[in-house]
Symmetry: C2
Subunit: 916 residues, 2 copies
């Protein structure tokens, strides 16, 4: 029927039918590495490896267009597909001299998904396809290994039953049905390892699997290989829309429209005996970046065994002994791949009776640290340029080399106290501490409540992805450094210790134990993913090496290799970026930290944070409770010396870099107590009747404080507050300038929406500046500008710029007002919005470019139309987000401002934006 | 010196110097009525009247440019001014054969302000200028009336001392210093009326006044007339910036930059004896609009006496007997003026020894009712076209003919109960009831607290303007229908009864009394400004005649003259307006009212208002407390029949007019109780533990509910609610349509910010529509659209319009988000903002055109770019505000929607916008 349809379509259009199947075989391939959108990453690289002469089993790729077409047309394939698949099979048969479905010399196939971007473990795979009750006998004869043939068959029936026919666990804690059958058999035979099953056990197993399938689905396991093939292809396409794949794409912003390709490839067997093996390797260490051959393999196993972490595999260098020829060949291929792809590769291989086959290659996922080291060393090796190196490191991944480690003293004490429980594989660098939860759902729920959570699993699977996202760290008792847990954790930048076999994990009792220690659900555990250590209880974390060099000065630069690489990237970034990087800092020590990280000024100094320190809150409260202007002025005057000292500290620290100081912003009720006893205390302290304090608190209550009496609205109604702050700034500036240190204050008026608000506050600031300068006989340089943080300000920016010397986009509030969405309240619907894909990313994390971004552009255009050289920056949380930094670069801002620890990330992101 | 400066400037520029002084005298004038911006209203009309041959005393006008110049240059005059004033004086002297400062035949002057728009009583006036110890004797001889001459002198010294030299009361309750001197003298002489003062008393008074001035100011009263003149001119210019003038301009949106002119005019005297008089008249009745000669005068008095309300004047028709010649001449002039100005005039006149002089004319202020009647009758008289008539009635003033009157039964009962206290002059139509306060400050403060307030004063003065603004109505015991109270109340549309001489008002005891009744501060009083009645206690108010005809049907159209005129204006409006007028109505009776007022559809039907009725709130609460989708669906199902009935009622009432129904909008916590006992009650009713109810209330609490989980965010998270509402709408529509009545539902999704939010809700609505239609075998026509009420929606309107069939601008929320200003919280700073002129008008009353308006334009442009015929409307409070309606017309909306009672106002405003 497919043939007929194909013919019909050809004759109807009169054109050559579209090409849906791309063949690779015998050193030739229809595709190449550039065709990832069409062939998926795996398919494109199989074609590429074939082209450059690597030993790839022949096969063909069904394109991603078929997937799109499949979903667009009610899960139907294009008419031409069947014929092209048939033709592909013929090529495979010819290449190998086997025949699909032949009972004597059967061609067996693997069917694998392969999207444009790698989505490890998210979609389905089927191996050994083509086996049935007849061909299994052919395979047994051909391989002269009946055990092997029946092992393949039972694997195939299991996979096919699970993936294609839907025999899967029902409910969260249910067992995998095939595993249950296997366990039952092992129990009957008193066997522990799969390898100990006899031939007849395997045959029995196949029988039992088939009746399980019949029982669950009401249909028989299909014996026809062609039917098997189409079933498998359909299952792979369907798996594009399974829940875990959707979650993954959401997390990594992979468009659903891309679709997956399907790779149909001749099987090679790592499970043909002890001269066979299968493995996964990296051309360099993906955790540290070190230039060593890194990976693991299993003797006499099929590929899925390694990744699934069922048996703990051996390290790569042991292969040198186990299979010296294959090892030598692999090591050559490793170099060949790096030279060809100019990047670290993650590849799969199989050794079938001492013959090496390459099954896949791709750019390897790596930690931030590894990304930097590999890129840096590849520059030295002449493989890439330093600009390419800059682009190779995801800016956000720098957070990993800045991430905390265990506090050394704490950790040593934990060792002394005998709290060290186990050692596993270091699979995701950094140290983390949190409460134990044993499944993804619990981890997610507790994390939502604000708990720090460590997800503890025997091994993780793609179903656990939400829990992994929510956790601080992941701990597993089984699986190697390329297990699912390790792979995903590295990509997410999560702390991970895996394959920690000493740990006993009991899901039912909800406990994690060694012989000595028992931890229950909710108890604390601390893990170090850089070295693989696991501790009972809490261990405080300490700064990373880079932080120790730059901030703590407890390490010298030359003592830290990590730091040297980090420094190199910072220097490269500085060469190309156009955006300046400032920091948000309210105190001198924060300012110093930020300077150490390379900040080039303060973009946001919140004066109100200073209001809470020590006694000064009393003066603040006195100011708020004042009933006359005189009383208020008296209270405000008490604050002046404090604020002046604060600003002196900051100016001194910043050594002439610009310091943007925002005048008082939060609503006054934030400074008053709201609890009965504290109110009484305050009334007594102030010598004011409690009723009056209570009345004032009531009067200051607001229905929507976010949109209430705050920002410059405070300064307009209480000009004496602005006056005091301006005086503190200018007196501090004068004093520091006299001491020989440059000062460069930029005074920022918050929440401006009307030009006259700014004028009103400007008048106060300029008057005070004049008074201080003439009294102190000094000339100060300063700027006055405004935050653009409500839509009206953006819309009338041309008028505001008549008086404002700079704009700083307060994207936190601008996002809240533009979207009409309170950050504090959005938790009740944002998750549902991300689920339903109403929004792609959290607008409070990354600038909403269509909405907020458009307003920013209106403001930029408006501002520049009246003041050509207006200085433009951003001081919202978005200032440290790489996507937002890219937007700010394109929008033409002068600087971004972010928290001190994100300054390096922002620098790299700014450099990448400039190179884009 | 002025001469020199003038010369210098002339030689320096070589050009003709700028003209600052415009003369009118002897039937010729430099200016005319069109030059109001330059000459002010008074100056321009004095010139115009001179030109058309009316008897105007000669004079000249110093232009408003001098005022602007004066304030721009540190209160200095332009160099050319002095010379031009001198030249003007010479013309006056020649015209009258008198000489300024001459001791025998002195020219005396009046100095009056005159801005472009009339600002009654806001600025200063000085009469009898030029008198001094010598000229007063000349005047006495010349007039042969020593008493008159000294009466003029004492008035002049008083005015000059007050206005120019600043001898004024200090503090709120202080007495006027000159009045105190006068009272003292009267006491000494045992005299009550000014008229009983003897010549020597007047001379004594002048002496005492002069020493008062010396004591207060340390300087002598100036004897030099030229010095007097410049002093007075300066005082008039200065009065442009006095507080009451600034408040007035703010209220009526008169730009401060306009400035005032100064009119210097030869004095004529209404106080030369019983053959002299002075008066104020209107060419028609300014309260009712009736075409009668309306006004009042005082025999033997100066102009200020009439307006100030010191003596209660006589009605105009009595002048026919008192001064038949002057009356006849005036009646001719009245007709001449209307023909010339084509509008009702308000003019001042003086009769000096039987000779008539015109001192001023201007378009008369009038009530809304009068405006309509006058314009309507002028159309009939052929004076103006109907389109001009439409423009003559301020749309907002229609509210006066829609304003409530006393409930007849209540009022009759009050008469029976003897609560009728007094009858005064009907000075501002409508009925009002409120608590008595005796000064402007108290009235303002109590009104702010939400009390309904009646301001009770002996007479009002410009200082009272804020209190008048705050009050529901104004009651005075002194002053006529052209007194300050009456004038201002009419303009503000306030209910006013004035000149109610039977009432005793005691400021000290804070009481209002007649012989029978005593009312204290805070007691209720009820006043009817249409007939002038005053009642003790409360009287309920009832609908106006128009409402009785249209809504209550208790009057037939032909029984109400007011209604007939109203109807005529509505018909004219309908001929020219392009905007459709819809109404905001949630219930069938509201819908019927709105239809009666001419609404052409419902622009906003809030479904949640229906949730509070009767038992249904229980189902709503059950829905909110539900913990599973099933439980929620069960609760929601209970609401379905209620909502269906609601919609049936509305569809039936609206007879096929479009009905825009908004799906659930407010955050769910608004439906839950927040007080302990009510929570317990609810828990019991629902059979749910109180902890769970409390927990749910806590969980639903929001930091900023305005920006929280509401609008379509509810529908996205709880699609079953949208589904129920859609089902209720379509089932109701089907039923009504089957009964033979057309239905035209427009379903509006609130708070949309992302295109996919709308899509999500659209899918639900369309699915339900399909289900209902196929089940009921009926074809329904409906639209689905969205509110544009957050900035993001406006910014991406092009994308939203891909699916939205209409936009309705929710300008309430759009204002709150665009300005970052919560309407509920802005009270703490908005007054200060209006005071400091940071904003000109309340953005919640009138659309903020620069900010919100710009976003609306972006949305309109965006929406039309993807959907050319998208229907556009506005449903915020602004939909009933004439300025906003004008904006909506210009912006190209299809309709505005407002509260039922504002529909006529909106119609007229829409017509005016179309004519503009």
């Amino acid at each position: 029927m497919a043939k007929k349809a194909s013919k019909a379509s050809r004759s109807a259009s009169g054109k050559k039918p579209q090409k849906y199947v791309y063949i690779f075989a015998d050193g030739k391939a229809d595709g190449d590495a550039k065709r990832k959108p069409l062939l998926g990453g795996k398919g494109a690289n199989l074609a590429e490896m074939t082209r450059i002469g690597l030993p790839v089993p022949p096969g063909f790729t069904i394109t991603t267009e078929v997937c799109t077409c499949y979903y667009d047309n009610g899960k139907k394939y294009p008419a031409e597909l069947a014929k092209q698949v048939e033709a592909g099979l013929v090529v495979l048969e010819k290449s190998l001299g086997k025949k699909f479905g032949d009972t004597k010399n059967p061609l067996l196939l693997s069917i694998r998904s392969g999207a444009r971007d790698s989505m490890p473990g998210m979609m389905d795979t089927i191996l050994n396809l083509g086996l049935n009750d007849a061909t299994v006998e052919g395979l047994a004869k051909l391989s002269n290994n009946e055990w092997f043939a029946w092992d393949c068959y039972r694997r195939f029936v299991h996979m096919y039953g699970d993936v294609v026919m839907g025999v899967q666990p029902q409910g969260k804690d249910a067992h995998e049905p095939f595993d249950e059958v296997m366990s039952q058999l092992k129990k009957e035979r008193h066997i522990e390892r799969d390898a100990d099953l006899t031939k007849s056990d395997l045959k029995d197993l196949v029988r039992r699997y088939k009746s399980l399938i019949k029982k669950w689905t009401g249909t028989d396991f299909p014996q026809n290989p062609v039917e098997q093939l189409w079933g498998a292809v359909g299952a792979v396409f369907s798996s594009w829309q399974n829940e875990r794949a959707i979650v993954y794409r959401r997390k990594y912003k992979i468009p659903h429209e891309w679709g997956t390709a399907v790779n149909v490839q001749a099987m090679v067997f790592g499970n043909m005996g002890d001269d066979s093996a299968t493995g996964v390797a990296f051309t360099r260490d993906p955790a540290t970046g070190e230039n060593v051959f890194y990976g693991e393999y299993l003797i006499n196993a099929q590929g899925e065994d390694v990744v699934a972490g069922v048996r703990t595999p051996k390290a790569m260098n042991e292969l040198r002994k186990d299979a010296p020829k294959a090892y030598a060949e692999l090591d050559k291929i490793r170099k060949r791949l790096e030279k060809h792809y100019r990047d670290m590769q993650d590849f799969e291989f199989t050794v079938e009776r001492n013959k090496l086959f390459m099954l896949q290659t791709r750019n390897g996922k790596r930690t931030g640290l590894a990304a930097m080291r590999i890129a840096s060393e590849m520059v030295d090796e002449g493989l890439i340029t330093w600009k390419e190196a800059l682009k190779r490191v995801p800016a956000d991944s720098l957070s990993q080399v800045l991430a905390p480690i265990f506090e050394r003293k704490d950790r040593d004490q934990a060792v002394k106290d005998g709290r060290q429980m186990a050692k596993g594989l270091p699979a995701g660098p950094g140290a983390a501490c949190g409460k134990i939860y044993f499944n993804a759902l619990d981890a997610e729920q507790h994390a939502r409540k604000g708990e720090k959570v460590i997800l503890v699993r025997v091994e993780t699977s793609p179903e656990d992805i939400r829990g992994m996202l929510a956790a601080e760290g992941i701990l597993t008792s089984r699986g190697g450094v390329s297990s699912h847990a390790a792979l995903v954790a590295r990509q997410m930048g999560k702390v991970c210790v895996c394959g920690c076999g000493e740990l006993k994990i009991d899901y039912i009792a909800r406990q994690l134990s060694t012989n000595d220690v028992v931890l229950k659900e909710g108890d604390f555990v601390s893990i170090d993913g850089t070295v693989g250590e696991v501790f009972a209880g809490r261990i405080n974390t300490a700064p990373s090496e880079v932080v120790q060099v730059l901030v703590d000065k407890s390490l010298k630069p030359q003592e830290s290799k990590v730091y040297k690489i980090f420094e190199r990237f910072m220097n490269w970034s500085d060469k190309v970026r156009r955006l300046q990087i400032r920091t948000n800092a309210d105190q001198p020590d924060q300012a110093l930290n930020a300077l150490a990280f390379g900040a080039e000024g303060i973009g946001l100094c919140r004066t109100e944070h200073m209001f809470f320190e020590g006694d000064r809150i009393d003066a603040v409260r006195e100011m708020i409770l004042a009933e006359t202007v005189e009383a208020r002025k008296k209270a405000v005057a008490k604050l002046l010396p404090y604020q002046r000292e604060d600003f002196k500290g900051i100016f001194r620290a910043m050594k002439g870099f610009p310091v943007t100081i925002r005048t008082l912003d939060p609503p006054l009720h934030e400074f008053l107590p709201h609890e009965g006893s504290l109110i009484r205390e305050l009334a007594e302290k102030m010598g004011v009747p409690i009723d009056r304090v209570q009345a004032r608190i009531t009067a200051l209550h607001e229905a929507n404080p976010m949109l209430g009496h705050r920002g410059c609205r405070l300064g307009v109604v209480y000009p004496e507050i602005t006056e005091m702050q301006a005086r503190a700034i200018f007196e501090a500036a004068a004093e520091i300038q006299k001491s020989g240190i440059k000062v460069n204050p930029e005074i920022m008026i918050p929440l401006v929406g009307f030009p006259k608000e700014l004028e009103n506050q400007l008048d106060v600031v300029n008057r005070v500046a004049g008074e201080v300068q003439s009294k102190q006989k000094i000339k100060l340089t300063y700027k006055v500008g405004t935050m653009i943080e409500i839509p009206r300000a953006a819309l009338i920016a041309d008028k505001i710029a008549e008086r404002a010397e700079f704009f700083s986009f307060g994207t936190n509030d601008l996002t809240q007002t533009t979207l009409g969405m309170s950050r504090d309240d959005a938790g009740s619907f944002l998750p549902a919005y991300q689920e339903a894909e109403i929004i792609k990313s959290n607008p409070f994390a990354s600038v909403d470019q269509d909405g907020v971004g458009r307003l920013m552009k209106i403001a930029i255009e408006g501002g520049r139309s009246t003041r050509k050289d207006i200085k433009l920056g951003i001081c919202g949380e978005h200032g440290g987000d790489p996507d937002s930094i890219d937007f700010c670069h394109k929008a033409g801002l002068n600087y971004v401002s972010c928290s001190p620890f994100r300054v390096p990330i922002a620098k790299l992101a700014a450099a990448q934006a400039a190179l884009a």
